[in-house]
């Protein structure tokens, strides 16, 4: 097994990446509509996980209100589509911009907060967004029932009620997302994020503009969540304030941490664990939540660094034990 993996590592990355994409393209073909929708949903949460990973994984900032930006993106797309008749795919840039803008506005004044205090502000913001949508601000958000009758994407004259087209649309954006995130990870900015995550004071001393770097993480992550929200609105055609509820943010957060903070394959594994498997275990009925909770606790105890962590994080956690340094803290 280890052998196989080492050999896999030696294969040209481009080749196995293309292989994975081919697999993703072919995977839904033999499946029914239900499983195609499950795959779509998996893709959706992988993208959400990747966007949150920029904030939590790379920059090490505690964000438990990510769903708010996902909801903001969805509402932007829906409002433009319903009131101004903008075709759904053309609303995507606006969704990104609005979510990113809110990401900027809300985090600008609170960036100096430390870990858990930042966390509570993001929770509060998520709840504020949900309540404002429920209270039907300006009378355009449709109250608790949200907005319905959103147009599906119209492209190539396809029948967009079929989940498979949404899956492929999702896949295109997913590939783009992964490409961008990978480039970011190894960019100057990506290294700055990790520097901030590991040691903010040292980063600042080395000339990293920590405020700007953290702000960029929030803006990029939020904007990307907004895009995912718009894609969601385009398939489900109904959106409600529940998109911004705390539970939704919790699930996104778990996806990032369960899979392995800061790691792209980790997000895939995390999404499988938090979204796909619970969906496929529907026969457990009312006990699904309990099993999910049990699995979360067990996984964390067995592999606190996540199921598929980035090499850096794993070395930090496992390596630290071997030389028996005092408590390694990830985001102090």
């Amino acid at each position: 097994m280890e052998n196989l993996l080492t050999r896999l590592r030696q294969v040209n990355p481009l080749r196995w990446q293309l292989g994975l994409i081919a697999l993703a393209v072919l995977l839904p073909l033999p499946l029914g509509n239900y499983y195609r929708s499950v795959l779509w949903r998996t893709g959706l949460y992988i993208m959400l996980g990747l966007s949150l990973n920029i904030i939590v994984g790379y920059a090490g900032l505690f964000q438990l209100g990510h769903a708010a930006f996902y909801a903001l993106g969805a509402y932007t797309a829906a409002l433009l589509n319903l009131y101004l008749d903008v075709p759904l795919l053309l609303t995507l840039p606006a969704s990104i911009i609005v979510a990113a803008l809110f990401g900027y506005l809300i985090t600008r004044p609170i960036l100096h907060l430390q870990g858990d205090y930042l966390c509570i502000v993001t929770i509060a913001f998520g709840e504020v967004v949900r309540l404002v949508l429920v209270n039907n601000l300006f009378g355009i958000t449709g109250g608790a029932n949200g907005l319905s009758g959103i147009d599906r994407p119209a492209l190539f004259g396809l029948d967009w009620r079929q989940p498979i087209y949404h899956y492929y649309l999702m896949l295109i954006f997913l590939v783009i997302t992964i490409f961008i995130v990978q480039r970011l990870e190894h960019s100057r900015l990506g290294r700055a994020w990790m520097y901030v995550r590991e040691d903010e004071v040292a980063a600042e001393a080395m000339g990293v503009d920590t405020t700007r770097v953290k702000l960029l993480a929030f803006v990029l992550g939020s904007g990307w969540a907004g895009l995912v929200g718009a894609l969601y609105a385009g398939k489900i055609t109904v959106i409600s304030p529940d998109m911004s509820k705390f539970m939704e943010s919790v699930i996104m957060f778990c996806i990032v941490v369960l899979g392995g903070t800061g790691s792209i394959p980790g997000i895939f594994v995390g999404t499988l664990g938090m979204i796909t498997l619970p969906e496929l275990f529907r026969p457990l009925k009312a006990w699904r939540d309990a099993w999910l909770g049990f699995a979360m606790v067990t996984m964390m105890i067995l592999r606190p660094e996540g199921l598929w962590p980035s090499r850096r994080v794993r070395l930090e956690m496992r390596g630290a034990k071997e030389v028996s340094l005092p408590t390694p803290a990830m985001d102090d």
């Binding site: 097994m1 280890e2 993996l5 499946l31 029914g32 509509n33 239900y34 499983y35 929708s37 499950v38 949903r41 429920v134 209270n135 109250g143 608790a144 029932n145 949200g146 319905s148 009758g149 009620r161 989940p163 969601y232 398939k235 489900i236 055609t237 109904v238 959106i239 409600s240 529940d242 594994v269 499988l272 796909t276 498997l277 969906e279 496929l280 529907r282 009925k285 009312a286 699904r288 939540d289 592999r303 199921l307 598929w308």
Partner: protein
């Protein structure tokens, strides 16, 4: 070792779909039930299941439908539209002939499209959003009533029977309660009443004393609450504890004996309720029998009006299948549109359905809670 584990995990995930969903049943009639079995609305969804399950078991014990047994396929949408779309697809894949569900309009909307595309016969017990029946779906029906008819009834009752002048209206920000509140406000103002207080509570709360303090200061002749029984009960209890002397009128979502329990007898007595007739006041034996059987089976009464509606939806489906001797969705839908008239419903008479699928008629009555906590029909009706 850890890699091995991950790979094992992955391969398990990838092969799971192959095992699932390959059972084949013959000669049963499958009926789907979609509702929130978990999540914030779990109370309603689990009630749907109880009510429908009871009727299915009774039907099966009596020899089934058209000589075939009924299999109830239950799916949990947690009240979430995305999950509703998924489970709708599951029900379609399970080859059900008809679907009852979902609870909230937000979940019903995406599901109804999938059922419509699959040509399924679909009845919602409780989703009142007007838009649902505006899409021209020929096989989609409601057994609940739209809010505006109850709004009109409530306004007439408050005006004509209670002779109130200055009234207050309170909702809980859910779409249903807000719709009912808005309609009542409109009709009340048309009748010349002063709506001097109009506000909403947050249904997640336990404590409503702040708003009750305001309501007490507003000197209202009557206050109409359109939300659900749990909050209704807390409102009654806390207004009693604050020593307020208010005339409370509740909407049909509070038509639930549990409200009396939550409020306490002293606080609940004298409260009016506008609602569909209770089974005990419906002249049909079916209605009384359903309640008696429900109590015998679950040692509780069918608390929520939406549970009754879910049972009603099943009865309608059963009736349609019996009468047409068919399980074809199109046949069933046409039967409901054209032939099903004046049925004995457990929620009162069913006059029929209009071309959009909305239930016809108005059947609302006013109840009052008496000193021993029973719901009795108010002697004066508008």
């Amino acid at each position: 070792m850890s890699r091995k584990f991950t790979l094992l995990f992955l391969s398990l995930v990838l092969t799971l779909p192959l095992f699932a969903g390959c059972q084949k049943e013959a000669e049963v009639i499958k009926i789907g039930l979609e509702g929130p079995m978990t999540g914030d609305y779990a109370y309603e969804g689990q009630g749907f299941e109880k009510a429908v399950r009871l009727l299915v078991d009774q039907t099966n014990a009596a020899g089934g439908l058209l000589g075939r047994q009924i299999e109830l396929v239950i799916e949990d949408d947690a009240g979430d539209p995305a999950q509703a779309a998924l489970v709708a697809q599951r029900l379609v894949d399970a080859e059900v002939v008809a679907v009852i569900g979902a609870y909230n309009s937000t979940a019903t909307e995406p599901a109804s499209e999938i059922y419509n595309d699959a040509g399924l016969f679909h009845i919602t017990p409780s989703s009142t959003a007007t838009g649902l029946t505006q899409k021209g779906f020929q096989r989609f029906f409601r057994v609940c009533f739209l809010d505006d008819r109850q709004g009109l009834f409530a306004a007439k009752f408050i005006d004509g029977v209670l002779n109130a002048k200055n009234i207050g209206i309170l909702h809980d920000n859910s779409t249903y309660a807000q719709g009912l509140a808005d309609h009542t406000k409109r009709y009340a103002e048309e009748l010349g009443l002063n709506v001097v207080f109009y506000d909403a509570i947050n249904p997640d709360d336990q404590d409503f004393s702040p708003i009750l303090t305001n309501i007490g200061a507003a000197e209202l002749d009557a206050i109409y609450f359109t939300g659900y029984h749990a909050q209704g009960g807390l409102l009654l209890k806390q207004s009693g504890e604050l020593g307020l002397d208010l005339t409370w009128v509740m909407g049909n979502a509070s038509n639930n004996p549990e409200m009396v329990q939550i409020a306490g007898l002293a606080n609940a007595a004298g409260t009016y309720i506008t609602t569909e007739p209770l089974p005990k006041d419906v002249d049909y034996p079916e209605a009384k029998k359903f309640v008696a059987d429900f109590e015998a089976e679950y040692a509780m009464s069918p608390d929520s009006v939406w549970w009754m509606m879910a049972a009603e939806a099943f009865n309608v489906i059963r009736y349609a299948i019996e009468q047409t001797e068919s399980t074809d969705s199109q046949v069933l839908a046409e039967f409901l549109h054209n032939e099903a008239k004046n049925l004995n419903g457990i929620t009162g008479p069913i006059l029929g359905w209009d071309e959009k699928g909305d239930r016809l008629g108005t059947i609302h009555v006013a109840y009052i809670i008496n000193e021993s906590g029973e719901f009795i029909m108010n002697p004066q009706q508008p």
